[in-house]
Point group: C2
Chain length 292, copies 2
DNA sequence: AGAACATGATTCCCGAAAGGTATCACTCGC
DNA sequence: GCGAGTGATACCTTTCGGGAATCATGTTCT
């Protein structure tokens, strides 16, 4: 088999049609260049250059081989580049899980920035509730998730990427909507409260229960999606607690009220396998906002 | 820059995921294989294989690079093959000139045989009268011609590839058509004879003149193409001499008559530049019929 | 025609690089 | 905890590639 150096030598001679000049271009002397071309011809099994004491020209086999040789050398360049870029996370694939509400403040800006800074990274999006994301991460179906606590921190690593206050959402004509002041837990006494699934939306379930602990509200529903909660509120089925960014979902017929003391902030975490090796993942992690 | 050996080494390790087995497959020992992979990684500038004392696996960069490496090695094979096949005349292009009548007995079988034995040779056909073929050969526009003598044998080489008798063609209702015996030169006394251009169809012109020398016929036309001659005969404009194979042109309303002694045979020559180097040409020359 | 020049091939030498053997460092399974 | 297995390292030998000088041959200028 021939070597890449021999290919470069051949291409140089084929382009210069002169061993001396080709050797100069390759920063070497003429004798070893002649030998390399001879070796290449023996390896290929065909005469590529017709040469005598006064002229050098390509044979037909040489013309055909020159095309292939150039293609090969070009591929050598691109292969190295590609590997380097994948290694640095500038090319490749990121399988990204996210919850519906994480998209509002975090996913959009992230995707926008990635398409600018990492245009050769393919992002495959999976909208899933947090437990499904964790499952996907453990199974190796996802590289990165945007979800809510809690999760197993032995296998998974995480970072807070967004933190926002909790707020209340009530029907537009509800008495609480007219108060015009931050609501306290006591304001919810006797209200029907729409809350979250303790398994599929455990984080919001616990935030809700914790905030309203001493006011003994009537928990009426147990849904997974924040948007569903707000739609139920709009339908007059009760009131609920949601993250402040839910305002921008633009549901008609509801009013959002601040909470007194605001309770615990709502946290969004980026989550990934602690043993993950994906260069794209590492690169993307540097692009996520820092909190704490 | 990396070497092709390093690529083969990497591919072997990537496929075996085991340095020892990969080394065995490459007919070498493990230590130099490890070094080659290390060198490759340094040359590429990215870690391609994640390895420790008990497992070897591809990094993401390694996965991307493996694809390119396989493509490269495949191209190495095909590049060599291609050059070899071009060198042996099994691939490439043949620019072939021919005269209209040479197609009848020679061109067809040649093309059929080439498409069977040299399927990767592209044949570019140029129908030209002999002088135009000679011009094309000298200008380097043609690789091979099928034409009639004479031609400059200093620059051009040639071989007889077909030889056939001359015959007469007369209108179907002509008195000569009814004789039912081979015609002699004397039979043409007083006939209007359609003949050929002394420059563009010099060979047939001279054959005609030579055969009819002592019978003093009336030479009426001077055309280039044999088919034109026969059509003029069919139109009753005279009689003519044509190669025997012209019978298979299938022109209606004419009769073909053998000639006494048949005169000189009509020769068809394959003609090429004496200094031609085309491997396809040499290969094709071996496929042409031998005469003489 | 002869000398000077140009050009690719050949020869010989040296240093760099590749492969082999022996060994090390580390992990895992019993 | 020890032996088996695996990749890395050290060291040696061989091979291969590059450089200087020279050769062989054909061209050009006088």
């Amino acid at each position: 088999m021939f070597s890449l150096d021999q290919l470069s030598a051949f291409v140089a001679v084929a382009e210069e049609l002169h061993f001396g000049r080709a050797a100069e271009r390759l920063n070497m002397t003429q004798p070893p260049l002649s030998r390399q071309v001879q070796k290449l011809e023996r390896a290929v099994g065909a005469r590529l250059l017709e040469r005598d004491n006064r002229k050098v020209e390509l044979t037909e086999a040489g013309q055909a081989f020159l095309v292939e040789a150039r293609r090969l050398l070009a591929l050598v360049e691109t292969a190295g580049d590609l590997a380097r870029r994948v290694d640095q996370g500038a090319a490749g694939t990121l399988r990204l899980g996210f919850t519906a509400t994480s998209a509002i403040r975090t996913l959009g800006p992230l995707l926008r920035r990635m398409s600018e800074e990492l245009p050769d990274v393919d992002v495959i999006l999976h909208e899933r509730v947090t437990p499904a994301q964790l499952d996907g991460l453990l199974r190796g179906e996802l590289d990165l998730g945007l979800g809510r606590p809690p999760f197993d921190s032995d296998v998974l690593d995480s970072r807070v990427v967004d933190r926002e206050p909790l707020c209340a959402v009530v029907p537009g004509n509800h008495r609480l909507a007219a108060l015009g002041r931050p609501l306290s837990a006591g304001d919810f006494a006797g209200e029907r409260v729409i809350s979250y699934s303790p398994t599929q939306a455990r984080y919001f379930h616990e935030l809700t229960v914790r905030f309203l602990a001493e006011s003994h509200p009537r928990i009426e529903q147990r849904v997974q999606q924040i948007l569903t909660v707000i739609l139920l509120v709009a339908a007059g089925r009760g009131v609920a607690l949601v993250p402040a960014s839910a305002r921008s979902l633009g549901v008609e017929g509801v009013t959002y009220c601040d909470l007194e003391g605001a309770g615990d902030p709502v946290e969004l975490h980026a989550i990934w396998r602690r043993d993950a090796t994906s260069p794209v993942l590492r690169r993307v992690l540097t692009m996520l906002p820092e909190h704490h």
